[in-house]
Amino acid sequence: MTPLVQINHINKIYGKRKAVIQAIKDISLPIYEGETLGLVGESGSGKSTLGKLLIGLEPPTSGDISYRNNLLWKKKRFMRPSPGEIQTVFQDPQSSLDPRMRVKQIILEPLNALPDQERKVKGSLERLHTLVKRVGLKIEHLERYPHEFSGGQRQRIAIARALVTEPSFIVLDEPTSALDVSVQAQVLNLLKELKQENQLTYLFISHNMSVIRYMCDRMAVMYKGEIVEIGETKSILNNPKHDYTKMLLSSMLKVN
């Protein structure tokens, strides 16, 4: 089975000369179609940087990434697969929605990158209404501004925006970390259902082991820019091999 995304020997170095930070050290990993790959690690582990390489926000310093066998980065240029094919939901629902745009404009925005024909089809009012209802918002919300919504609702708006182009692959960067537990559960459920319904592939970035455990088929543990362990979520949780993974698991606070 050929992977949807193949990451090969990626390095990412920030800064120049003396003040150099190596955010990613020689990472290789495949992401298979239809799976949810979890990326767990602490702040500064490089997990978010890896996400940025995939969505075109940062170029890798060396190495290559291919998406459906096409290179994503040629030198410093991002070779976007067809627009809207790869989407993203960020952690902070406060700053990921433009405060001056109405929800309707926000959700439809990604369509502006599509060819006219496709934009008309995907941007039809009927489709928009279905999508909005599917993510748990109401039609009348479309005319409002982001500041009128709670964190959970904003994240629903961000999810609707990511889905409007019918993507195949979504990078979720800590999508529920800023939310309350009860709302987190709503959003996680929604993401899980949407994945089923739309045959999506997720890269799920999180620092929260129990969220990863609930969401992901496979997981990779990142520590200081490297992947120290990768495999089936169940087997890693039941039988961690690397010391760092063991430490992460032992510091998880259990309620019961």
């Binding site: 309350d180 709302v183 559960a185 459920n189 620092h207 998880m252 606070l253 259990k254 019961n256």
Partner: protein
Amino acid sequence: MLDIKNLSVEFNDLNGRVKALTNINIHIEQGEIVGIVGESGSGKSVTALSILGLLDENAHISNGSIIYHDQNLLEMNVKDIQALRGKKIGMVFQEPMTALHPTMNIGQQLIEVIRQHKKVSKKEAYRLAIEALKDVHIHHPEKVAKQYPFELSGGMRQRVVIALAMSNPPELLIADEPTTALDVTIQSEILNLMKELNQKKSVSVLLITHDLGVVSQLCDRTIVMYAGQIVETGLTYDVLHFPKHPYTEALLNSLPDLKQQDQLLEAIPGEVPDLRYPPMGCPFHSRCKQAMTICREHDPKLDICEGNHYVACWLRRDEA
């Protein structure tokens, strides 16, 4: 030691009044660790701020008293409260930077605190400062003592804040989301330090958090807050294992910790009510699966359920 009675707090904003707290009763004994859990808007931080006398100007305490050793904190003047905050009541916030002096190095800050508290020479104070840093498991105390807060990581800063609290132990430590900004591996260390602080120096701790895991690791007693009210309180073990209030139960069920992959989480539908327009009856009724007619009309008061376990729910009442 600390006794909060019928505390109600309101905020005024342009659109009217927000009932941030309604009839809160909290009692903390010497040497106890009490946790307040709740989601954003539940009023847990407002509770902490009212004890510390740090509420915003637009806040208005409409009712109740906060009795600390026979003194009502709400009737004390600003100066006395400040003195109390320095000596008897300590605080640890989510962002440790707020508790540290930005242009003094760590050693100086510790020495200052130690000398306020004990009459010792500078040299002796420095020795005690290094001790204090060792106590919070900082490996190179001499090096850290020379550093400034901005040079330290979040975890180190929080350790320093605890070292400061330890070297001049307050009677009561109020910790508002002390580990929320930290990585998980550091979180458990900080929690252990707080436990040590509690055991070695018999400091009482009021811990405010949204994280049920933190409460279960640290607290003797747990208070669950929702929409500005206490909905359940009791020994941590009882509350987390035998929750009596549907909200607590739902909160526990919405955690991904125990669920299998093929199960969906039991999310609580809807949103926290807007406290500008508080609902009639029980604040949770609109999201409660087991809501009855009485829940929509009358607010259940917090009442004893069994032993030390209190709950505000009509389901647990005979009259209903």
